[in-house]
Structure formats: structure tokens, C-alpha cells
């Protein structure tokens, strides 16, 4: 009797496992070699018509060729679908690593596109975004001459463990989406164009306010933004009149108060630097002073741009969330940000003077 019920149980288990097969829809699975894995998507909008450029690595024997496919249409999904129909393999956007917006389009507003990416989820929310300040066609044509590294050069540029530098902003789709929906948090995204000797030329970064490009930052300012946000500013070489230093590490502390409706923010950014190059023999005190002065001026310029564009890329509003009501927060960008009183102190420590002893 016991073995009979045992057998029945086994049969039930086997049957239920068989039932899972039709539920899985495994016949729709496509093997990796039957999928096209675009890694870069360029989007432009001209006269109300979207133009999408996909850069697809094509694995062949030996090397990887890069294929650039273009399509036009009224929505992004429509274009991708059209391209997929015409391709011999299925386009799988899950491996997309970088979305490039033409600068004209970015100025017009990325809202709809970013929203549709977040909605459909066929593109990972972690995809990096960047702005291309030349026409997409010429950009892709130029970078296609550098396709030695199986087509991943463009992402290596943005990858922390590869070619990323602290002067390059980093933002992903979800961060832009957050900027569109948050009252107090905007982002900066890198601006690039094709280079001549190098694949890409960094042109600083764009200030994105509520999903629109409203201004831009220089690479030096971007570095401050990264340091302020706490991402490491390591490795950056700072050129001054008298010396060049390398920033080894940075740490940031913020203090905030709200007095009579005016937000005050005091920040302290500690930098540890090492001396690389000097002209003449400036004193350490002198160098420290110059570093602070240089960074201070950049910081002031960022704050100025923030106030002018009403885009809170340093997310200073985040610190005052507890001081304001939700209705007040809604007007952070218009009412409070322009009145923000910002003080920053750069504390520079020359950790070592390089391999030469300082006399």
C-alpha cells in the first residue's frame, strides 16, 4: 500500500514537471548565436521623426566585425522592430550598454524616450547614457574604424575598470528617469564626439534638468561633481601654474541648515594628492593653496550654472528634504535652489612629494 502511494506520488511529480514544459515557452528561446546583441544605440530626432542607429558586433571567424544599422520611424520600438524584421537574427537589446543622444535631441527633451525604456524594460535600466555633439552618422562612421576590440571600445570608455576617468560623468537610464521625476535630483551626462587619434573625445558633460539638456560642464567641473557625489576622483592630474598633482583619494562631508527659508550647505572635500611636476620650487603651502583656489573657482562656476539652469546636478536638495514639506519640495528648483547658500572648503593634503625629496 505504501509503495503504491509512493508510486502515485512519483507519477504526480513527473506529470507536474511535464506540465511545466508548455508553461515555459522554451520554443521561443533563441540561442546566443541567433541573436544580434547591439551594444550602442544612437538616437536622433529630426523633424519629429526618430532616427535610430544600432551598432551590432558581428562575430565571425577570427575577428568581430561591427555592423551599423539605421532605421527611421515614429517610435523607437517601431524602428527596432523594423530593423529586427529585416535582420537574419533577432535583435536583443538586453546587452545594450550605451545610448547616445544627438545633442539637438537632448536639448529638445529625452522624456518620452527614457520613459518608454523604463516602461518596456527591454533595455536594462543600467544602460549608460551619453550625448553626442556631432551628427550620429558621422560619429558611427568615424568610430567604426576602431573596431579591433570586438566592438566594445565604446563601453570600455565608460567602464570603471577600464577606460573611465573621473573627468567623465556617468549616468544611466534610471538616473535620467529619476531626474525627470524627482524634485531635488538632476544628473549630468557625458558629452562625447569621435576623436582623431583616440576613439572618443570627451567634451565635458551636459546638465540634464527634468530630462532636458540645459547646459554643460567642462571636464574639470565634472571632476568636482564626481568628487562631491563621493565617487572617487582618483588619478586626476591637475595642472596649475606652478605644479601638477595627482589626486589619490577624496572624501566629502556635508553639513546643511535651513534658516528663514534659505538653505545653507557647508561642504568639506578632503583631497589627498601627490606631487608630480613642479615649475621652480613652490612651497607646499603654495601648492595647497593653488589647488584649493582652482577647485574653489570650479565649484563656484558649477553652482552658478546650477542656479542659472535650475538643475540640481549636485543633488543638494536631497539634504533639505527633511526641512521642507512636499509642496515646498515641488518648488525646490525654482524657489530654493537659486537662493542656496553654498560654502565649500577644499582641504588638500600633500601626501607625498613623489620619489624626489622635497628640499
Amino acid at each position: 500500500m505504501g509503495s503504491r502511494s509512493f508510486k502515485l506520488r512519483w507519477i504526480a511529480v513527473c506529470l507536474s514537471m511535464l506540465l511545466t514544459i508548455p508553461a515555459g515557452g522554451c520554443w521561443d528561446n533563441k540561442d546566443i548565436n541567433h541573436r544580434s546583441l547591439p551594444i550602442v544605440m544612437g538616437i536622433a530626432k529630426r523633424d519629429g521623426i526618430y532616427k535610430v542607429v544600432l551598432q551590432v558586433p558581428e562575430p565571425t571567424e577570427g575577428t568581430t566585425d561591427l555592423r551599423v544599422i539605421e532605421g527611421k520611424g515614429t517610435t523607437i520600438n517601431d524602428i527596432v522592430d523594423k530593423i529586427s524584421t529585416n535582420m537574419e537574427s533577432q535583435i536583443d537589446l538586453l546587452h545594450l550598454k550605451l545610448i547616445l543622444f544627438e545633442d539637438e535631441f537632448a536639448k529638445e527633451g529625452l522624456g518620452d524616450v527614457i520613459e518608454s525604456f523604463m516602461r518596456a524594460h527591454d533595455i536594462s535600466a543600467k544602460v549608460m547614457v551619453a550625448i553626442c555633439d556631432e551628427p550620429l552618422e558621422s560619429f558611427f562612421k568615424n568610430i567604426n574604424t576602431f573596431h579591433k576590440n570586438n566592438g566594445t571600445v565604446l563601453l570600455s570608455f565608460f567602464e570603471k575598470n577600464a577606460g573611465w576617468n573621473p573627468q567623465v560623468a556617468e549616468s544611466s537610464v534610471w538616473e535620467v528617469f529619476r531626474s525627470m521625476n524627482s524634485y531635488t535630483h538632476d544628473v549630468s551626462i557625458p558629452i562625447i564626439r569621435s576623436g582623431t587619434g583616440t576613439v572618443i573625445e570627451s567634451r565635458g558633460s551636459a546638465i540634464i534638468g527634468s530630462g532636458r539638456m540645459v547646459g554643460n560642464l567642462t571636464p574639470g567641473e565634472t571632476l568636482i561633481v564626481n568628487a562631491f557625489k563621493g565617487s572617487s576622483a582618483q588619478g586626476k592630474i591637475e595642472v596649475m601654474k606652478n605644479a601638477t598633482v595627482e589626486i589619490i583619494s577624496s572624501a566629502t562631508v556635508h553639513r546643511h541648515t535651513m534658516k528663514n527659508g534659505i538653505p545653507y550647505l557647508k561642504s568639506k572635500i578632503r583631497l589627498k594628492v601627490t606631487l608630480l611636476e613642479t615649475k621652480g620650487s613652490p612651497s607646499q603651502e603654495n601648492i595647497r593653496h593653488e589647488v584649493s583656489k582652482l577647485l574653489q573657482s570650479r565649484y563656484d562656476s558649477i553652482i552658478g550654472k546650477m542656479k542659472a539652469t535650475r538643475a540640481d546636478i549636485l543633488a543638494t536638495g536631497q539634504y533639505f528634504r527633511s526641512n521642507l514639506t512636499r509642496d515646498q519640495l515641488e518648488h525646490w528648483r525654482e524657489d530654493y535652489l537659486p537662493r542656496l547658500n553654498c560654502e565649500v572648503e577644499f582641504v588638500t593634503v600633500i601626501q607625498n612629494t613623489g620619489l624626489l625629496r622635497d628640499s
Binding site: P59, T60, T64, H95, G151
Partner: protein, 443 residues
């Protein structure tokens, strides 16, 4: 007279039944036994010497006969025949019509003690069990010189008697386990047992168990450890290994020989085995899942490399993987069958030629070859062949589930395997249990 005549009639069917007449201190005696089991000349000499000595000391005839061996009380043909098959020499005293069973000088029909053939010992005792059950018990006695080691013998079967010996250390043994095994053996006295499957039935295990219920070892050292942990060791006549009950999951990863190394290395080696099992179970499934269902999990560089290696491969990854897995199973199976001298040839043909050819013929991707090589190597890291078979089987479940559900299916499969193993018990001891000697606190 009739019984002996009947036996003589049998002799025409069995050429090795031998009859011999002789006189022992004036008595007409007829001896019979299997010449294939008994060294007749030595036995005769032995009997003559004993009788001669006994009569010289003036013992009465009854005592002389009694000293030779037990007298069969109510002899039947069947009974005498089975005594003969068990290797006894039968003496028939014509005058008093009595049958006496004599322990003869046996022919040496067992190997001498040799190093193990299915297990390897790096540092430790290298003598292994042999076919002769008494030698095996002797080996254990040598290793466990303890008065609490108890040996119980059982004869199972009706047509063919099989001797099964149960050993346990009464000080530490799990009493419920021992009693349950004894009860099962007593209950199934009539069962004929020639192999482990039948033994498993006799002990009341399910036929459909996917994990082995017997841990087997050729090494007295292993049996000794099992005994000291409170397990029960069974010996079956003509089986050159100890059958250790219960078999637990940890037996897959630990052997006593590990303790011959410093403790850090012992843990490192055991971790390596656990890792090997995980690789073996997971990797083929992971390949199928990542290639067919969830390529998005891969880094783009790796995705492109895999895509590159799969250009022109005609089959979906599931078929590809199963194809090569089956070939590997065949190689494994064939290398067990082949004589040792041809084995290397097969390995070469299977491993190098087939592997290379199958890639250049574009039937499978070369990444898969790497994965399957890793799988096969990892498969052998497990202790005991009986355990590696289990793992080999579970691998297929994971491959199929991965093909349907991708990484999620892989995880679900792993969960299924774990829950199955957690559900297996033998004599009330869960498979996942860590055996502790009785009286020692658990955990």
C-alpha cells in the same frame, strides 16, 4: 545406504563430488565431499592422524567419532548436499550408519590481501578487503581491537545460502539502526541475496532511490571509522568490500584518509570536493541557460566570444550538450568495461580525437568541450563511484530545466535536488545527517 546412493547418483551430474572408502581403526568409512572445495589428500591425512591419536589414548569409539565433528542427527539427502556445498567433508560410518561432518582442509580459493583496486590511499593502510568473509572480519578485528566490537552472522536464502555478517561497535552504535537492520535480516531469512540490489530489497529500501543507500569501501580503515561513528558495517560473502549503513551525504566529501594531512589541507581538500560536485551539477546547465535563455547575464565580451564559438553550430544548445554528455557517459562506461591494456587507447580516441573532430566538424562549440571536460573531471572528485553516479544523473535534470527556464530553472533544479536529498532517509536517519557516535552531543 539409500542417502549415500542418492548422493552417488548426483555424482554423475557433478563431476567434482568425490567418494572415497577408507578404514579408520578398523571401521569401514566412506568419505564424500566436493573435490573443488576440499584438499582431499591433506584432509584424509588429517583425519587419520586424529583418529590414530584418539584410539591410542584409549577413547571409546563414540568419543573418537564425536571428536571428528558433529554427527548429523536426522540426515536427509538435501541436508547433506547443502553441507557438502558449504564445504564440509561427510564421513559415513557404515557399521553404525552415522554421518559426521568434518571440517576439512580447504583449497585456497581467495586472493591474498592486496592493495585496493577501486580506491586509492595516499597515506594510510593500503590493505583492502578480499572475497573471503572471514579474512575481512579479521582485518576489521586487527583495526578495531576492542571488546565492544560485535560480530553477528546471518545465513540468508533458501536455494543458495549467503552469509552476511553484521559488525557494530556496541558502545557507540545507533541502537535503533542496529536493531532495525537485524530485524530486517531476520525477517527476510528466506530471501536469496546475490547482489546489492537484492540486499537493498531485503533491508526494505525503496527500489527507486536515486541516492545510494550503501556506502561501500574496500578499506578496513574506512570501515573502522564508520564503526567508531556508530554506523553498522555489513559483509557479504564473496563481496570484497564493506557495506556501510547508513550512507550519508557527507560520505560523498570525506574519507578517513583526509585525516592523514594537516587539518587545513583536509578542509581544503574537502572544500574542493564540494566545489567539484557543484561544478559538475551546475556547469552544463549553466551553459545551456546562458546560451539559450539568459545571454543577458553574461558580460558582453563573453557573450560575443560564446556567440563566436557557436557560429555554424546547427543544434540548439540543449541538443548539443546532451549529445556530448552522452558521448562522455559512453566513454566512462566503456573505460570500465575495457581491459586495462586497451583503456588508454580509448581515452585517447575519446578525449583527443573525438573532442577535436567534433569541434572542427562544427557539431558543438569549443566552449562546450571545455565545459564538459571540466564536468567530467569534477565528477571524479567525489568520494566513491556510487556517489558519482547519483551526481551524474542529477546533472541531466538541471540541464533540461535550464533549457526551459534558464537560470531560474537551474536554481529550481538545484532546489529540487536539495529537497530530494533532504527527504531521503534510511532506517530513520536523514541523508543529510552528520553521524555522531552515540552519547556524544549533537551539533
Amino acid at each position: 545406504m539409500t542417502i549415500l546412493q542418492a548422493l552417488k547418483h548426483r555424482a554423475s551430474l557433478n563431476a567434482d563430488i568425490r567418494f572415497q572408502k577408507m578404514t579408520l581403526s578398523g571401521l569401514e568409512v566412506e568419505l564424500t565431499g566436493l573435490s573443488s572445495l576440499i584438499d582431499f589428500n591433506a584432509s584424509l591425512l588429517h583425519i587419520q592422524q586424529q583418529v590414530h591419536q584418539d584410539t591410542n589414548t584409549g577413547l571409546p569409539l563414540e568419543s573418537v567419532i564425536g571428536n571428528l565433528g558433529p554427527i548429523v542427527a536426522e540426515p536427509t539427502e538435501h541436508q547433506l548436499m547443502s553441507s557438502m556445498l558449504a564445504g564440509h567433508l561427510i564421513l559415513w560410518f557404515e557399521r553404525i550408519d552415522a554421518y559426521v561432518l568434518v571440517a576439512p582442509v580447504s583449497r585456497p580459493l581467495s586472493r591474498t590481501i592486496e592493495p585496493p583496486t577501486t580506491e586509492n590511499v595516499l597515506r594510510g593502510s593500503i590493505s583492502a578487503f578480499v572475497e573471503d568473509i572471514d579474512t575481512n572480519i579479521g582485518l576489521i578485528r586487527k583495526h578495531v581491537a576492542s571488546p565492544s566490537l560485535h560480530v553477528h552472522s546471518y545465513l540468508l536464502g533458501t536455494i543458495q545460502k549467503k552469509r552476511i555478517v553484521l559488525l557494530c561497535n556496541d558502545n557507540v552504535v545507533d541502537v535503533r539502526l542496529r536493531d532495525a537492520i537485524v530485524a530486517m535480516l531476520e525477517k527476510n531469512k528466506e530471501m536469496n541475496i546475490q547482489n546489492l540490489q537484492q540486499l537493498s530489497t531485503a533491508l526494505g529500501f525503496s527500489k527507486w532511490s536515486l541516492v545510494t543507500k550503501f556506502n561501500t569501501s574496500e578499506l578496513p580503515q574506512e570501515a573502522e571509522t564508520a564503526l567508531s561513528k556508530g554506523k553498522v558495517v555489513l559483509f557479504m560473502d564473496r563481496m570484497p568490500f564493506a557495506i556501510i549503513l547508513p550512507s550519508l551525504m557527507w560520505d560523498m566529501f570525506a574519507v578517513e584518509n583526509d585525516r592523514s594531512f594537516p587539518v587545513i589541507f583536509m578542509y581544503a581538500i574537502r572544500f574542493l570536493r564540494v566545489f567539484g560536485v557543484l561544478i559538475n551539477i551546475l556547469i552544463p546547465g549553466l551553459y545551456v541557460a546562458l546560451v539559450s535563455v539568459n545571454p543577458d547575464v553574461l558580460r558582453i565580451e563573453l557573450a560575443l566570444t560564446i556567440a563566436k564559438s557557436r557560429i555554424d553550430v546547427p543544434y540548439p544548445s540543449l541538443v548539443e550538450t546532451l549529445l556530448l554528455l552522452v558521448i562522455l557517459e559512453l566513454i566512462l562506461e566503456a573505460s570500465i568495461r575495457l581491459p586495462k591494456s586497451i583503456g588508454p587507447t580509448l581515452t585517447m580516441v575519446g578525449g583527443i580525437i573525438l573532442g577535436q573532430a567534433v569541434v572542427s566538424a562544427k557539431l558543438v562549440s569549443n566552449l562546450l568541450i571545455i565545459i564538459l571536460a571540466a564536468t567530467t573531471i569534477a565528477n571524479s572528485a567525489v568520494v566513491g563511484f556510487q556517489n558519482s553516479v547519483t551526481i551524474r544523473l542529477f546533472k541531466y535534470l538541471l540541464v533540461v530545466l535550464s533549457a526551459i527556464y534558464g537560470v531560474m530553472g537551474l536554481l529550481a533544479g538545484l532546489f529540487l535536488v536539495c529537497s530530494y536529498m533532504a527527504g531521503v532517509t534510511s532506517f530513520g536517519i536523514p541523508y543529510m545527517h552528520l553521524m555522531k557516535p552515540r552519547g556524544e552531543p549533537n551539533g
